[in-house]
Structure formats: C-alpha cells, structure tokens
Amino acid sequence: MYILQVQNLSKSFGGLQANRSIGFDVAQGEMLGVIGPNGAGKTTLFNCIAGVHQIDSGRVIFQGRRISGMKSHEIARLGLARTFQIYVASGDLNVKENIMVGCFMRERVRSAAAKAADETLGLFQISHLAKNVVAELPIAAQKRVAMATALATGPRLLLLDEVAAGLNPNEVDEITGLIRSIHAKLGVTIILIEHVMEMVLNICDRVIVLDYGEKISEGTPREVIREPAVIKAYLGERYARQYLEQAENR
C-alpha cells in the first residue's frame, strides 16, 4: 500500500525547470531520503507535494486521493505535515503555543489542544522550554519545535526539510535518534531532505537522488552511493568511498 505516489511531476518557474517529470512511490511506514546538490529542486518538490506551488503537469496521490491542485491547508488537513528549511518564528507565540497551533488542527477547544501539546512537548523532550519564545532558542531547539509543531497536527506523512542543517555532530545524533523514535512510536511515514549523509545512511530505508530537477537514481542508501551518476553529480569520489566504508562497517 503506497501512502504517496508522485507521477510525472513537473514544475518550472519562468524559464527555469525546477522539477522535470519526477516519479516515485512511498510505502506506508517507510523512511525515504531525498538527496542532491543545492538547486536540484528538492525543496521545490516538497512545495509541490504540499500544495505551496501548483504543479505544471503530473499527479500527486496521497492515500489514494489526488492532492495535486488542492490548497496547502486542505492537504495539511488530510494528514500531510511538513517543516520548513528556513523558518524563523517572528511572532509572539511561545514554544507551547506554537505547538498548540498544530494541535488546533484536530482539536477545537483550548484545554484539549493544551493537553495534546503537553504530550508532544514530552515526546520531543522540550517540556522545560514550553514558555520560551521560539526565536530566542538555540537552533537545535528551534528545529525540534518546528518538528513538534508539524507532528502536532497528527499527520500520516511528514516531510522534513533539512532538519539537521546547521547542527553539530552531537545534535545530529540526537535528532537522528528523535526521528527514529517518532517514526517507530507513531508509525508516521517520513520523507526527509538532507545534506548530512551520515544521517541519511543511518535511518533511510530508501533514497531518491535529484539533480537539475530530475530524478537520477533511486534505491537503498548503499545502492545509490555506488552509482557513478550520483557520485559524479553529488557525492564526489572521495566522500562516496568514505560513506561506502561506513556503510560496510555497520
């Protein structure tokens, strides 16, 4: 059973073809990685799936239902949540209130939303930050809040856009563990865009590789890092060998 099917998705901005007939399927409960060089169209792909951009051609099917053409808030309500690569919360909402906004998608009254938010805070181990303003937190904590807010909507599919960017190796390990645990506990399907290859190799079941808006490879992490096209476009010889060794040693 596929939770998400992307078929022939194309999107261009003016003369720039950001996504060119991309197609892939995501199985229920899977953890899929999306990698590729900067400007390969990864975030555009997320925006097309989540309804931020209207796609030029192709189809996106979520839980058997066509979602391409729907508005992003409608798609969110169907159970597709996402985080943003660059998100500085500028408002006056504190951490708990931020998460409550997510909870309010399913809850109608404040007490229920607050209760749900408390659970999410606990799950992400940020209960002690509940009263802090998001913008004043360190970046690792901000990323947690962003994930927690998205997850608070109770999604079936979660799109994570570079949640490990800007974190130190320790923090990357922590957030990797966190993603793994929410994946296991909540059974939510996850697609993540990531540049930190260690993390992708560690947790993804499958990876798709984008370059110049096209899908150039698809397979298990071990398979794709061997592919010459991927090495040429993204990894480079030296890193590919290094990652391969890491993967073999595991």
């Binding site: 808030h73 943003f84 998100y87 408002g91 006056d92 809850e107 009254v109 404040r110």
Partner: protein, 335 residues
C-alpha cells in the same frame, strides 16, 4: 462549558493587574454617583466607545497583524443604519442593532475578500481607499441624508426612551455603554484563548507555516474581520443614538480609522488590556487638550499639534506601546 470558562477566566493575568482593573471597574460603576462635570461624563462615554473600537481592531490588527486603516466605514454603516431606521420607520434601537451589525459584517465580507489578498502596506492603504469610496457614496446618497447628514429628532421621543435609546441625560448612555464595554471585554477574553486567535497569531508570524498547519488563512482573516467589524458596527449603532446628529466626516473620516488603530498600538497590540489602556490615555488627552487649549485659550489647532507630537514620539521611540514600556521596565528590574 469551555467557552464560559474561558470567558471568565483571568488566571493568566498578574494578580496586581487584576486588582487594579477591579478598582477601576468599580470606579466606572460608581462614577455617576459622584459629583462630576458633564464633560467628564461624555469623555468617559467616548472612552468606552473607543475602547470597543480598539478591541475590535485589535482582533484583526493586533492578533492577526493585518493593519486595517478603514474601520470608520463600519462605524458609519452601523450609525447610518440605526439613524435611518429610527428616523424613517421609528424602529426600536434594539432591532436596528443586529441589522446594523449584520450589514457591517456583510460589507466586511465584500471588501475583505479582495483586501486579504494584499499584505502589509498594500493592505493598509487599500483599506483606506475602500473606506473613502464608501464615504463618498454616503456623501451624495440622498436616502442617508447625503452631505447634510442625519438628525434624530429628540422631540419625537419622551426621554427616557429605552426602546429607541433616546435620553436627555447622559447617565443612561453611560451605563448602557458600560454594559457594552463589559460584554465586549469578556468576549475578547474568550476570543484570545480561542482556536481562531491561535491561528491568527500563527498567521501573523508566518502565513506559509500557518497554511502548512491546516489553517485556511483567507477564511481565518475574514472571520476575524467580521468579529472586528461587528464590534465597530455595534458601537456605531449606539453612536447614532448618542450623538443624534451624524455626518460622514465625523463617522467615516480617515482620522477616526487611524485613531482606532493608534489606540490599540499605543496600548500594545495583541493584548487584552492594550486597547483599553490606549483609549484610556488618548481619549481624555484628546478631549482635555481640546477643551483647555483649543476652546479656552483660543488657539485653534494647538491641541492637535501636541497630540500629533505625542503620537510621533510614541511611534518613533516605543512602537510596542505602553505594554512594551512596562515590559522593558519590568525586565530592567529583574536584570
């Protein structure tokens, strides 16, 4: 149940603030019993009215971050509805009130739908334009008295007429407005804890993120605009009976719209007390400056010069309003 609890729950406000609010509330309740000038009385009525305007504005402007500078058009709709209905058909005020509010809300949907496609400055200026168009129409529309305005003939009613809200003594208006004020205040206390308020604050912070959390941004803004305009429209209906002589300039002018936004900003946007504090400072300041400097000293315009200078000072030096100032002093104390 939850709604009732939210409406009367002030547990998140600091205790000293609540005590102060209680004392001020008690003062308002007893004020007419003390000896007072009619000028002080009318200033307080104005304070209640403008508090309500600013509370309404604060829902969309403060919580939602959409700076509307055309609120006066809804004041005009409410005022003219009541005036026309009382003058032409002798309709009781309490029937004109829901109709006036309904018309204001309908108009808010008509202009809100296109307006909320705009953001920032563009939204603010377009809201002014919409308001001016409506004012120009009222200025020539004979049915509503065109540029002559409308006057509710008091001789037709024997004061106190509670049905039509026509009184010769201000004390009746005072208590009715005070009741409106309390209802409005409690409503806002409910509103700020509602799902809609959380959604609005999320929209204010980042619309794209808000959408990703399943919020229908356009619809949330329009719902809030309807709330804001029903506040303004309802007080507009009252305004007609209180002032009795309404003209487009006094009810629908740009100055009124800006004054409404200004009070919310001065008090502190997106807070429960902000609009009340703002109105509590600006309304007495404005009317007493006018009384002392304008009328008594005979210097026409100097009251508004001082008033303008104060606005400029606040917006340049403390744009978060009095609330920001309190917060700043508070943090200095703890630091």
């Amino acid at each position: 149940m939850e709604i009732l609890r939210n409406t009367f729950d002030f547990s998140d406000c600091p205790r000293s603030g609540l005590v102060l609010a209680g004392i001020v509330g008690l003062f308002f309740l007893c004020f007419p019993l003390f000896p007072h000038s009619s000028f002080a009385m009318s200033t307080l009525i104005q304070f209640f009215m403008f508090s309500l305007f600013a509370m309404g504005w604060n829902t969309i402007g403060g919580y939602g971050g959409q700076v509307d500078l055309g609120m006066a058009q809804f004041l005009g709709i409410g005022a003219y509805t009541t005036a026309v209905m009382i003058i032409r058909w002798n309709t009781p005020f309490w029937i004109t009130l829901p109709i006036g509010v309904l018309l204001a809300v309908l108009w808010s949907f008509v202009i809100g739908y296109p307006l909320f496609r705009l953001k920032g400055h563009y939204f603010a200026i377009a809201s002014i334009a919409a308001s001016l168009v409506l004012k120009d129409i009222f200025d020539v529309w004979d049915f509503v008295g065109a540029s002559r305005g409308l006057e509710i003939p008091t001789t037709r009613f024997s004061s106190p007429d509670f049905l039509h809200l026509i009184f010769t003594q201000d004390v009746y208006y005072y208590y009715i407005m005070f009741a409106f004020f309390l209802i409005g205040f409690l409503f806002i206390n409910h509103f700020r804890k509602s799902r809609l308020a959380f959604q609005l604050r999320s929209i204010k912070s980042n619309e794209e993120v808000a959408r990703s959390l399943g919020i229908n941004v356009q619809w949330a803004k329009m719902k809030t605009y309807a709330i804001a305009t029903s506040f303004v429209g309802a007080v507009g209906c009252f305004h007609a009976c209180y002032i009795k002589n309404i003209e487009t300039e006094d009810t629908m002018g740009l100055d009124i719209s800006i004054l409404i936004a200004l009070m919310a900003m001065l008090g502190g946007m997106g807070s429960l007390w902000g609009p009340i504090v703002g109105a509590g400072i600006l309304i007495p300041l404005k009317s007493y400056l006018k009384e002392w400097l304008g009328a008594t000293a005979g210097l026409v315009g100097i009251d508004l010069v001082i008033y303008a200078a104060i606005i400029m000072f606040i917006s340049a030096l403390e744009p978060r309003g009095i609330w920001g100032l309190v917060g700043r002093l508070g943090s200095r104390k703890t630091a």
